[in-house]
Structure formats: structure tokens, C-alpha cells
């Protein structure tokens, strides 16, 4: 049913992604799909990496560790953004199209008041992306 599953990954908060990572891996195994771990970086140094190249290395390492742990086919895909605080949703939607992902599995928070005004990143993806979107709420 699904041949390529995309999972957006925030390496600065990787600890909060456990549930979504497991769901994505389970689905990838079930459908024998490829799992693509997508990370967004800037050209400016960040809390995760000093350079975009370091970010690429870290994401690749993360993807490989995850794929090995869960026994799935996995790889990394990096998006470079000028202004990720604002351009994140657009970048992820574009990535889902570029990667031809047919399912996006994404960690998200339990909705609060501000989500009634501004959608969460996951909410925006569910509204706007062509791919199916599976939002995994935090604990």
C-alpha cells in the first residue's frame, strides 16, 4: 500500500520522537516500504550542528542507527532552509513531493489553544500535503 514513508526528524529533540519513530518503522516493515528520515537545517550554526555538512553527517548516522535498530530500509534526506521557524511546513510538503512519499508519519503535540489559531506543523501537513499523513501525538 505504501512504498516510501517520510518521517520528519528534529535532531535537537530526538528524545521526543520515540513513539513516531517506532510507528513509522512498524509501518515500513509491514508494507516493506523505504523509510526516509527528513531533517531541516540552516546555513547558520545551530544547536545540532556547526555546519550544514555536520548536520548531514549526523542525520545520516541517525537514519542508519534507526534503520538497523528497527530492521527497515532507511536513509536520510536534508532540507536546507533560510528561515526554518517559518518555512518548515512548506519545506516538508515540498520534500514529501520530491521524495514521492506516499505516507508521512509525524510526531506532534496534543492540541492546545494556539492550535485553534495556527495549526501545528503536522496539522498543516495533513491539510496541505498530497501524501497520507499519520500524526502521532506525544505522551
Amino acid at each position: 500500500m505504501f512504498s516510501r514513508i517520510m518521517i520528519p526528524v528534529d535532531l535537537a529533540h530526538a528524545g521526543r520522537l520515540e513513539k513516531a519513530l517506532k510507528v513509522a518503522a512498524d509501518l515500513a516493515r509491514h508494507y516493506e516500504a523505504e523509510l526516509v528520515y527528513v531533517g531541516v537545517t540552516t546555513n547558520e550554526p545551530s544547536s545540532v550542528a556547526h555546519t550544514p555538512q555536520e548536520f548531514k553527517q549526523k542525520l545520516a548516522a541517525f537514519a542508519e542507527t534507526q534503520a538497523d535498530t528497527h530492521g527497515v530500509r532507511g536513509r536520510a534526506h536534508v532540507i536546507t532552509s533560510h528561515d526554518p521557524a517559518v518555512e518548515l511546513d512548506e519545506g516538508l510538503i515540498q520534500a514529501s513531493e520530491d521524495l514521492k512519499a506516499d505516507l508521512v508519519v509525524m510526531a506532534t503535540h496534543i492540541p492546545n489553544l494556539s492550535d485553534r489559531i495556527w495549526s501545528s506543523h503536522g496539522g498543516t501537513l495533513a491539510k496541505q500535503a498530497d501524501a497520507s499523513v499519520f500524526l502521532v501525538r506525544g505522551e
Partner: protein
């Protein structure tokens, strides 16, 4: 696969670059959390100190207006008069330093690594650095400054008790209209040409170099790593960054105040909308609202689009005035004024032994302090959009091209106004209050209604581009160099800037207090900039030249 970055060091950016290995992790001093539904990620203590100190300043100005007014007036005089030589000397050093880098092999270092490619096209890049750098100032002073210097120069000198009491530049040009025009324009171009852009270029270059080539956070303190080492992440750095936030906030609020008064004056001229506090408050609120939308749309979706729109509108207005105004006089004037600038430059830039103290302290010294206090904001913004350029390309584009555009702008707008006085005897612009002078000049040209309207739109959009890019910059500094801090923080700073401008505009002498704060933060920041020249030199020496 193991994380190779630890065992092999930090991977270089695109191509070879002299990365600095540090244990400091960006955001390690930040406080992350949420206030209700609103998330935040702020640097401790830069965010708190900056925010609280600014609030304290606003309360002081409002609670004790007379005392504050006297204190700020004293401060203003002390700084512009006592340190005039320092501002002038330092600005000369910045120009020479930039020119030197252009011609030495260090100019071939590429920002972002030897193989980096530019993030923005020339048009987008140039539009953004220009809109952030001069914006409202050009609209505000484009007509009035050449007119003022022309008038004072023509008026000659006057001396009381051995000291000059006139405001003419240098030795004035009493009785010679032609020379008064040349001197007037030379003085204006001096204030808007190489020197201010060299100030911006120093800050922008140091930030771009230490961020994109050295891998340090995008904050002012990073440029001081070669001097302070790891201590730069402690209190030394906190002070530098806090100072940068002050300078940016006060500089922006001053600009917003100037922009509001000019937009209000224009709206009165055009639609008869009354000039007053109510209109100005509505204007600042509405424009801050537009800036908010721009901030929420981000660097590419908001700031860049508005900057390009502004460039287009400004070019249209410039071409209109050029062709409808005294075209031949403007074009010959452009060359003549440029030559006059070169001719008078050594005397105008001389920091000691000057007789024209009023001009030197009241104009030049104040301008230099103002540009310097704006430099963290404009510099960081320019740095953020300049990755991928070589140092030489960067300096030529940041230093020389904007200077030439400023000369052209002044030649067209100021030149038309001066020609109106000399040739037509039309003195409405000369006699008007400062914010209205642009509109009075346009009045004497055809289609005044349309051009004045475009003028107001330009003031407003320049206002928006300053406010939104300023919010981005302050947010980045107060988030410890993180460019992906939660968006509500930008919203906070954007509203905060607007609120400061409104509160101080409503208080007696508010704008003067702001200007005093602007130049007072400019003084310590001059030291910061001088040190930056040295750290840039050291930093560039470690880079591979392409």
C-alpha cells in the same frame, strides 16, 4: 554507523574553511519552555536584561519626563561633543580597513567556505541590504540635508568669542552659490556614502565570517572569539550582545518615530489627515501590524518580497523625478557632486583641529554614532543574506554600490530641490518643516498627487522592512544565535518595538530621548567595531583564498 563528526572533527562547510573548534553548544544557555500555549527559547540572561532595561528606560522617560529630558540632553551633548574626534577617527579607520581588504589577497576568501554558492541573486541581495540599511533615512533626509547644507554654506561663517556659531560645513562658501551647492552635496554624500556603509560592512563581514566560516553562533559576541576565547560565552559576551540589542531597539524605535511623523506629514499634504499624536499612533500600530505579517511570512516570504517591492517603487520615483525634474542639471550634478565629495573628503573626515564645530558635532558626529548604533542590526541582517560571496565581492557591493546609489538619490532629490531654489526661486521645500520637505519638492513637479502618494507608500514600506528585519535580528541575538527560535518571539519583539516608538512619541521629548540613547549606545559600540577590525583580519588570515 557511528557519529563520525566526533572522531574526525567538525566537517567543513562548503569547501575549505577555518572552523573554530569549541565545546560551546549553541543554545546551551537558553531557557526553553512555554507560557500557556506559546513556546519560547531564549538566551539567559541576554533576553531578560535587554527586555527589562528597555522597559525601565521607557518608565523612567514617562514617569520623570523633565528630569529624563535634561539627563538625555546632557548625555547627547557630552557624547557628540566630547567624543567627536573618536567617532570621526574610528569611521575613517573602518573605510580604510574595508578598502584595504578589497585590494589585498584576503579579499578572495569566500564567506561560507571555498566552494559556497550565494543564497540570493544580486537583485534580492542588494534590495534587502539597501532597504535595511538606509530606508527611511533616505526618504527623510534626501531633500532636506542637501538643502540645509547648501543654505548654511551660502550663509557663510559667523564667529562669537572666537568660536564658530554657524552650522556651515568647513569654511562655508559665502556669496558663491555654485560652491555652496558643491560643498552642500559633498557634506551630504559624506554622511551617506562610504563611511556609513563601511561601518555596516565591518559588522556584517565579521558576523558572516565567524558564523559561516568558523561555525560560531550568529551573535555579535562570536566575532570576539579570537580575543576572549571561551570566555566570550560568559559575561563579556552577554554585555556585548545586550549592547547590540539596546542599540537595535533604540535605533529602530527612532526610525519608526521619524517614519511616522513623515508619513503623517505626507498624509496631511495629500488627504488633509490631521497631523498629531492620534494619527501617528494609528500609523505606527497599522504599520507594526503589516510588519507582523511580514515577520510571520519569514525572510524569503516577507522581508525579501517587501524589500524588492520597495526597490522597484524607489527606482520608479527616482526615475520620475530625474526625468521630470531638471534632468541635465541633475546628471551633470551627479558627476560634479561626486567630484566635490572626493575633493572635500579629506577635510570633512579630519577628526581634529576643526573650526566648523557645530557641523562636525551636530551633524557628522551624530550621524556616525547613529550609523554605529544601527550597525548590529543592519550588519547582522546583511551577514545573513551574504553567504557565498567573496570578501571582495561583498565589500564592493556593500560599500561602493550603495554609496553610489545614495549619491544618485541625493543628486536627484536634493538636486531638484536645490535647483528649484536657485533657478525657479521656489523656496517652499526650503522653508518647510523637515518631514514635509520631500512632499513640497514633489509639489512643484507634475503629478504631485501620485508621486507624493508613492512617497508615503515608500516611507511606510521602508518602515515595515526595518521593523520586520529588526525583529528577526533582535530575536536571533536574544535566542543566543538560534535562527529557528519559536515564531511568537519575533512577534513579541515586533510589537515591543512598535510599543516603544508609540510610548516615547507620546511623551514630551520622547524622540530626543531615543536619539540620545541611540548615540550613547553608539559610543561603546565604536570600541566593539574597532576590535572587530582586528578579529576580522585574524580570522581571514586563517581562511583559504580562492
Amino acid at each position: 554507523m557511528a557519529d563520525t563528526s566526533d572522531s574526525q572533527g567538525i566537517p567543513e562547510p562548503e569547501g575549505t574553511a577555518g572552523l573554530i573548534e569549541t565545546d560551546y553548544e549553541i543554545g546551551q544557555d537558553n531557557v526553553e519552555g512555554s507560557l500557556g500555549p506559546i513556546g519560547f527559547d531564549i538566551h539567559n540572561p541576554v533576553f531578560a536584561i535587554s527586555g527589562l532595561a528597555v522597559i525601565a528606560f521607557v518608565f523612567y522617560t514617562l514617569a520623570l519626563p523633565e528630569q529624563a529630558g535634561a539627563a538625555f540632553s546632557w548625555l547627547f551633548t557630552q557624547v557628540t561633543q566630547g567624543f567627536d574626534w573618536f567617532f570621526l577617527g574610528a569611521a575613517n579607520i573602518f573605510v580604510l580597513f574595508c578598502l584595504l581588504l578589497i585590494v589585498t589577497p584576503l579579499g578572495s576568501v569566500r564567506l561560507g567556505g571555498a566552494d559556497a554558492t550565494p543564497d540570493y541573486t544580486y537583485v534580492g541581495w542588494f534590495a534587502m541590504l539597501f532597504a535595511a540599511g538606509m530606508g527611511i533615512g533616505l526618504m527623510f533626509y534626501g531633500v532636506s540635508e542637501p538643502l540645509t547644507h547648501f543654505s548654511t554654506a551660502l550663509g557663510g561663517t559667523s564667529v562669537e568669542e572666537g568660536a564658530r556659531t554657524d552650522w556651515a560645513p568647513l569654511g562655508a562658501a559665502a556669496g558663491s552659490e555654485a560652491e555652496a551647492v558643491r560643498l552642500g552635496f559633498a557634506a551630504t554624500i559624506f554622511h551617506w556614502g562610504l563611511h556609513p556603509w563601511a561601518i555596516y560592512a565591518v559588522v556584517a563581514l565579521s558576523l558572516a565570517l565567524f558564523t559561516y566560516n568558523k561555525g560560531l553562533p550568529l551573535t555579535i559576541r562570536s566575532a570576539f572569539y579570537p580575543i576572549f576565547g571561551e570566555r566570550v560565552w560568559g559575561w563579556v559576551g552577554h554585555v556585548i550582545d545586550t549592547l547590540a540589542v539596546f542599540a537595535t531597539l533604540f535605533g529602530l524605535a527612532t526610525s519608526l518615530g521619524l517614519g511616522a511623523t513623515q508619513a503623517n506629514a505626507g498624509l496631511y499634504e495629500l488627504f488633509g489627515i490631521p497631523v498629531g499624536e492620534t494619527t501617528e499612533v494609528i500609523l505606527i500600530s497599522a504599520i507594526t501590524g503589516v510588519a507582523l505579517i511580514s515577520v510571520l511570512r519569514g525572510l524569503d516570504g516577507g522581508v525579501k518580497i517587501l524589500s524588492e517591492l520597495n526597490m522597484g517603487l524607489a527606482a520608479l520615483l527616482l526615475l520620475f523625478v530625474l526625468f521630470v525634474g531638471p534632468t541635465v542639471a541633475i546628471l551633470t550634478g551627479f558627476v560634479d557632486y561626486l567630484w566635490a565629495y572626493i575633493e572635500y573628503l579629506p577635510a570633512l573626515a579630519n577628526p581634529v583641529g576643526r573650526e566648523d564645530v557645530n557641523f562636525m558635532q551636530g551633524w557628522t558626529s551624530f550621524y556616525w554614532a547613529w550609523w554605529i548604533s544601527w550597525s548590529p542590526f543592519v550588519g547582522m541582517f546583511i551577514a545573513r543574506v551574504s553567504r557565498g560571496r567573496t570578501v571582495r565581492e561583498f565589500l564592493v557591493c556593500v560599500l561602493l554600490i550603495p554609496s553610489l546609489v545614495c549619491v544618485l538619490w541625493m543628486a536627484v532629490f536634493g538636486g531638484t530641490a536645490v535647483q528649484q531654489v536657485i533657478r525657479d526661486g521656489y523656496t517652499a521645500a526650503q522653508d518647510a518643516e523637515l518631514p514635509i520637505q520631500l512632499f513640497r519638492m514633489l509639489d512643484a513637479l507634475p503629478l504631485a498627487g501620485i508621486t507624493s502618494f508613492i512617497g508615503i507608500v515608500l516611507v511606510i514600506v521602508f518602515f515595515v522592512t526595518s521593523s520586520d528585519s529588526g525583529s528577526l535580528v533582535i530575536d536571533t541575538i536574544t535566542a543566543g544565535g538560534k535562527v529557528d527560535a519559536p515564531v511568537p518571539q519575533r512577534v513579541f519583539w515586533c510589537i515591543f518595538e512598535g510599543a516603544i516608538a508609540i510610548v516615547l512619541l507620546l511623551s514630551a521629548g520622547g524622540l530626543q530621548s531615543l536619539q540620545s540613547m541611540v548615540i550613547s549606545t553608539g559610543l561603546p559600540f565604536t570600541v566593539v567595531l574597532l576590535l572587530m577590525c582586528w578579529t576580522i583580519f585574524r580570522g581571514l588570515q586563517q581562511e583559504r583564498r580562492v
